[in-house]
């Protein structure tokens, strides 16, 4: 890794690819390993978003380079027969980016609502 990299301002990363956003959300509360992220995303979206493993790790690779996440540690996963797994953790910068993306999305929603595209209740 190139430690000298200057942190880009979040706007340059925007809009965030949806896989990246989902991964950030999934890591917001707790460190997870790959399969746990896939399961969490599937569960939270009611099965609508299914991250493929290839897509997941490609996203992870880029997110590591972008300093959105870091590898927390490697430890046995409780659900996987003691197989050692890599755990990922969101960085403060990752949080900043995720927040910015959420605000951008909610701005869009507000806009749609103001124009009557969306009912108040929804």
């Amino acid at each position: 890794m190139d430690g000298m990299k200057i942190k880009p301002i979040p706007d340059e990363l925007m809009p965030l690819p949806s896989a990246v956003f989902h991964i950030l959300v999934s890591l917001a509360d707790v460190d997870r390993h790959g399969y746990a992220i896939i399961q969490d995303v599937t569960a939270r979206t009611g099965g609508e978003v299914k991250l493929g493993p290839g897509t997941l790790y490609r996203s992870i690779q880029r997110m590591l380079e972008q300093d959105l996440i870091v590898e927390a540690d490697t430890r046995p996963a409780p659900d996987a027969d003691d197989e050692r797994r890599r755990y990922y953790r969101i960085t403060p910068f990752g949080r900043q980016v995720a927040r910015a993306e959420a605000e951008r999305l909610s701005g869009l929603v507000a806009l749609a609502r103001a124009r009557g595209l969306l009912s108040r209740k929804a």
Partner: protein, 864 residues
């Protein structure tokens, strides 16, 4: 699980190494969670889709990164990058241009329907030196009627004519063709219709088909050109069709096609050989079978008409083969030379990239130590090398496209093709192939080499900067290869230059400078009467001779080196004509003043003069070789020769001129007085070329000459205005182009080889700085160290020269027919080539040797 592991190979290696285990773990968990056959199937489908898309994206990511960092590296060392790009551009450009021309002339199918089935037919009169003699009309008709091997057979003949009815009168080169010709070639007109056999009938109106370029230039590309009536030599023709631009038959100068009608007296003379014949083989008939059949038919005709046809055979060749051996050889030489260039460029590239890779050995070792995967590093260097070669390839391709029109002199006019090869996908393809080949081969090897050797060695304190013995040997071989190729190119270029000098030294027999020529083609039948022509010539010549600066002016049938034919059998001193072995001469009509204008020395007797009128005895002036052949020890003056319509008395002897061009033997010449020709006979030979010998600026005369012609007859077009020197230069043009192209190649090769040698020695001196320093410390003298470096360079040069000598001798003997009698083992040329190659060695050695002499022990040790 094995299947999934296999699937993971779709990812870039670095990604697979990093995340392979994780991916497998995820897959295992999902496989465990997926219960039932349907779930398993859908898991697999998902996984395959997911892997394929994300693997492609991962590759793309990497490539983007590589290109970005390659671009950064290129910017960091602009000098090196520029050198690589230029060298690549040179090699690729030369190869592409040479390929484009060679392909155009020798390889590509002719622009006709199924061109491989098209053949040309000739009478084989090898017994008197003509294996490809044109046919006479009656022989053509017999061949056409008797043969079974062909789907169709057509005859054509060139016809230059004045076109009236579309703007100013213009002189055009065209062809008369039998109606079957278009059907045989199988090319449809782009507008209107082609000629058919119905047009051959004397009763049909005269139809005319015009070329695309004539349509554009004279008729503005208007579609209503069809049905328009024009005058060709005073005969009304109706335009019925326009051919597509690619139709250049029989040559690229042809701009119209008129019906060829073989009737009347044309059918009586079997020695009137002037028809070209093209035919299309039947599908089931081979070329050999057709040859056998035609041989039989020719033998029958020889029996039936022994006077004209005895010993005449038949020659059948593919239309594609209407290329002289010289033209073919020139192109192969060009292709060979360009391959040499490519070879040199490639070895230089390899050498450059290799040294660059080694230069960065330490940097790469550091990066490897910091955790960058080795394959990532190799991949990055590969991208850099490919990027540079690709830029070079693009520039080379553009250069090739720009250069190709300059070598059109190498495209023979005997082929029915355009003068400039169309730049198409093939040229692009060859550029791509050569670029990729060069880039991959020479861009990949060095990094791979590095990968096999790169380790943490580079970091070891004081490690030699990574010059393995094998690498040095490889680079030495590359340099030897460059010198070898330079040697071959220099020798070939030198021999061709010698040949050019020799041709330039040939005396054409006439004064080349200070003569202006132009053509005034007299429309027929208006000028069919000799007296009418004579009035025209007299008026024009009288007026011109009064112009300021004009020394002499005269008319002749055809200019030497422009019209090389016009060869006739002749009898001497009343002996009967020997049809088996007739004495042939180059026959011309002239007006008084022709010899003076060209300063052709009159050796004996007199010139033709104004008093030689139709009613006075017919006279002829012959050339020196004619006298040598017939009356080696007798006085030629007053002797008689006879030709078609009667006896002529020899009144003068002039020096021979090179009618057929500087490089060929010409028949003896005889000159008849134009004024003594009977009306209506041999109109084709009536004088049309005006030669004006003048002092001062020839261009200033042009307008005055035009005015003089227009005053004599405004309907006579003036064309082909050019100095005689231009005609003689055109005769040597192909040779000049050859020498220039090969010379340019040789010069570039020379420079590249010097650069290559310098690069190698400079690098090895740099790498051995410490060794040299130690040598100094141990008492070596600067001269000794210099000997070490120079000796190395000279050794390499000697190897290259040795191998080069053998290859050059071989190449030179292959070129022999192009050398115009210059000995392929010409000692001077080889000596010069050796000297130049040694100069390469000296040039390449000087700087590194000086640097080696200046090595300072303290510096050498401090550098560690």
């Amino acid at each position: 699980m094995r299947w999934y592991s296999a699937l993971l190979h779709l990812y870039p290696r670095s990604f697979r190494v990093e995340y392979g285990d994780e991916l497998i773990a995820v897959f295992r968990s999902r496989a465990r969670d997926a219960r039932g056959g349907r779930a398993k199937v859908s898991l697999w489908l998902e996984v395959i889709l997911d892997t394929a898309t994300s693997a492609a994206a991962a590759h793309l990511d990497l490539a983007r990164q590589d290109v970005r960092s390659a671009a950064r590296a290129v910017r960091r060392s602009p000098g090196f990058s520029l050198t690589v790009v230029l060298v690549a551009a040179l090699g690729i450009g030369a190869t592409a241009a040479a390929f484009a021309v060679t392909d155009h002339v020798l390889l590509r199918p002719l622009p006709f329907s199924r061109p491989e089935r098209l053949v040309k037919l000739y009478q084989d009169q090898s017994f008197r030196g003509y294996s490809r003699m044109e046919l006479s009309p009656p022989n053509f008709l017999d061949w056409q009627r008797e043969s079974r091997a062909f789907l169709g057979m057509g005859a054509y003949s060139s016809w230059s004519s004045n076109l009236l009815g579309a703007g100013d009168p213009v002189r055009l080169d065209g062809a008369t063709v039998t109606g079957s010709v278009f059907a045989v070639l199988g090319v449809a007109p782009s507008l209107g219709r082609a000629l058919t056999t119905i047009d051959d009938q004397p009763a049909s109106a005269r139809a005319l088909v015009i070329s695309h370029s004539l349509w554009m230039t004279q008729f503005g590309g208007r579609p209503d050109v069809l049905g328009q009536s024009v005058l060709l030599d005073d005969e009304a023709h109706t335009i019925v069709g326009v051919m597509p631009p690619s139709f250049n038959f029989p040559s690229r100068q042809t701009s119209f096609w008129a019906p060829l009608r073989l009737t009347g007296e044309l059918l009586e003379d079997r020695t009137n050989w002037y028809l070209n014949v093209v035919a299309r083989l039947k599908d089931e008939v081979s070329l050999e079978q057709a040859r056998a059949e035609m041989k039989g038919i020719a033998a029958q005709l020889a029996l039936a008409y022994p006077d004209a046809n005895a010993r005449s055979g038949a020659t059948v060749i593919e239309l594609r083969d209407e290329v002289t051996r010289q033209a073919r050889l020139t192109l192969w030489a060009l292709a060979g030379a360009s391959l040499c260039m490519l070879l040199i460029a490639c070895t230089n590239l390899a050498s450059l990239l290799l040294s660059r890779t080694l230069d960065r050995h330490r940097e790469l070792s550091v990066r490897a130590a910091l955790g960058a995967g080795r394959d990532r590093l190799v991949r990055q260097m590969l991208t850099e090398n490919l990027l540079l070669t690709a830029i070079g390839g693009a520039i080379g391709g553009i250069a090739a496209a720009a250069v190709v029109p300059l070598v059109t002199r190498l495209v023979p006019i005997s082929l029915p093709i355009a003068d400039v090869p169309a730049l198409d996908a093939r040229l692009l393809g060859i550029c791509l192939i050569v670029t990729m080949g060069t880039g991959l081969l020479f861009g990949v090897l060095p990094p791979l080499k590095l990968a096999s050797s790169a380790s943490l060695d580079g970091l070891k304190d004081g490690a030699r900067t990574g010059v393995s013995r094998a690498t040095e040997r490889l680079r030495s071989m590359l340099v030897v290869g460059e010198i070898t190729a330079s040697m071959v190119l220099i020798v070939c270029a030198g021999l061709l230059l010698q040949a050019l000098w020799r041709v330039q030294g040939v005396n054409p027999g006439f004064q080349v400078s200070g003569v202006l020529t132009l053509r005034t083609s007299l429309p027929m039948p208006k000028y069919a009467a000799t007296s009418a022509r004579q009035r025209f010539y007299d008026q024009v010549l009288d007026e011109i001779r009064t112009l300021p600066g004009v020394r002499h002016a005269g008319y002749i049938s055809f200019l030497p080196m422009v019209m090389r034919g016009g060869i006739w059998p002749i009898t001497v001193d009343g002996q009967p004509l020997d049809s088996q072995n007739p004495h042939t001469v180059s026959l011309r009509q002239i007006s008084p003043g022709f010899f003076d204008a060209l300063r052709i020395p009159l050796l004996r007797g007199r010139d033709v003069r104004d008093s030689d009128r139709p009613d006075s005895p017919r006279v002829v002036v012959v050339s020196e070789s004619f006298v040598k052949r017939h009356w080696p020890s007798l006085d030629p003056l007053g002797r008689r020769v006879s030709f078609a319509f009667g006896e002529l008395e020899v009144v003068g002897v002039v020096q021979d001129i090179k009618v057929r061009g500087l490089e060929r033997e010409s028949e003896p010449q005889i000159y008849l007085a134009a004024a003594q020709f009977p009306d209506n006979s041999l109109l084709y030979y009536s004088p049309k070329d005006l030669v004006v010998g003048a002092d001062g600026d020839l261009q200033a005369l042009v307008l005055l000459l035009r005015t003089a012609v227009t005053r004599a007859d405004p309907q006579v077009p003036v064309s082909d205005i050019r100095p005689l020197s231009e005609i003689v230069e055109a005769d040597m043009a192909a040779r000049v182009v050859q020498v220039r192209v090969l010379g340019a190649f040789a010069a570039t090769a020379f420079l590249l080889a010097a650069v290559g040698l310098h690069g190698l020695l400079a690098f090895s001196v740099a790498a051995r700085t410490r060794e040299i320093g130690v040598r100094f410390a141990l008492g070596a003298t600067p001269a000794g160290v210099m000997r070490l470096v120079v000796g190395r360079g000279l050794l390499l040069a000697a190897c290259g020269i040795g191998v080069g000598l053998v290859l050059a001798a071989w190449a030179a003997s292959a070129l022999q027919t192009l050398l115009f009698g210059v000995d392929p083992r010409h000692a001077g040329v080889y000596a010069a080539a050796i000297a130049l190659c040694l100069a390469i060695a000296v040039l390449g050695t000087v700087l590194p040797a000086l640097r080696a002499m200046r090595v300072d022990l303290l510096d050498a040790i401090r550098a560690e």
